[in-house]
Symmetry: C2
Subunit: 190 residues, 2 copies
């Protein structure tokens, strides 16, 4: 069955233009997958040779500490990219879990395919470069928020970025992303 990849083309063409033949080449390297809520895409220790782009649904990456506590690094819903990027970039075993918080439809791109696409289609190298610039800035702002902001300000920042999260995930998970307890988050006037 062929899946409609036009949302991905739209996503890419918000930043760069592709000819039809470039798009065909790019699209041929993405593989469609779907998983149910609670299923894992990545578990710690696995080799991670793919990153993922979300068509519909919601996933998260998290690490599990020695006391069994979850720490959420990232949420990814429609149009977001996600993986265990440390494992993916360094070709090391995963140190994160990646699982579905909803039934999820997504596209999968291997490391090898990404590098090939970026060599063969210069516009795609620029696409990933520009996306990474925004991702880099986003993470710098998140580090700064840990250094300078109150939990309340960090919560508001998260909800500004992903307003739909409030409806889609329990507050316990928002607390885990913010690095505070569920009780601390409940006490806030948010």
């Amino acid at each position: 069955m062929t899946h409609d990849l036009s949302p991905l083309r739209k996503h890419v063409e918000e930043i760069v233009s592709l000819t039809d033949s470039e798009w065909q080449f790019v699209a041929s390297h993405f593989e469609y997958r779907s998983l149910k809520k609670h299923q894992f895409v990545i578990q710690t220790g696995q080799v991670v040779d793919h990153e993922f782009w979300i068509l519909k649904g919601l996933l998260r990456t998290y690490s599990l500490d020695e006391n069994g506590k979850e720490h959420i690094l990232q949420f990814a819903s429609e149009n977001y990219w996600i993986s265990d990027y440390h494992a993916y970039q360094y070709q090391m075993p995963a140190t994160l879990f990646l699982d579905c918080l909803e039934d999820t439809h997504f596209l999968s791109l291997s490391f090898e395919s990404r590098e090939l696409i970026c060599k063969e289609v210069p516009a795609m190298a620029n696409f990933f470069r520009v996306k990474l610039n925004y991702g880099f800035v986003h993470l710098q702002q998140r580090v700064l928020s840990h250094l300078t902001q109150t939990v309340e300000q960090r919560y508001e920042r998260l909800i500004d970025e992903m307003p739909h999260l409030i409806q889609r995930v329990p507050k316990k998970l928002l607390a885990s992303y913010l690095g505070v307890s569920r009780e601390t988050l409940s006490r806030l006037k948010v």
Copy 2:
């Protein structure tokens, strides 16, 4: 006076190859600058249309909170890139200070030049893309360290990455990067 940009060519060619004419084109967009210890490259409120690559010396970006406390976002020594990337990427006024912790020699690249270089020389788009992948992973690990690690572990991680910092900056500045007080850092067995 013409400055020797060969360290930058070496830095770029650790990741991608350039022909001599590509390198000439790239190099022509960098401007040499030098500043003394304590001088500012960026102050809050300024327009930020350049990023910087360090030939020799040490700089930092930091934000100043309403109580006058400094929070260090990044250190950059030889071969590092630095700017107020939020301001640079979004073409907004700076919210960070960038100043010299030592006399510093560096190269300056404008936003416009970077985009032009990446369009005209596809290898350079890939160079910046790959550097950003590593930078992105580094920042994800730093966010995780705030969620999961002790101050001691975060300190060891910083010193692993930039071992020369111990000799080059006072502990007060390391504490500011880690988000703890000078006193807390002193109490650690590090």
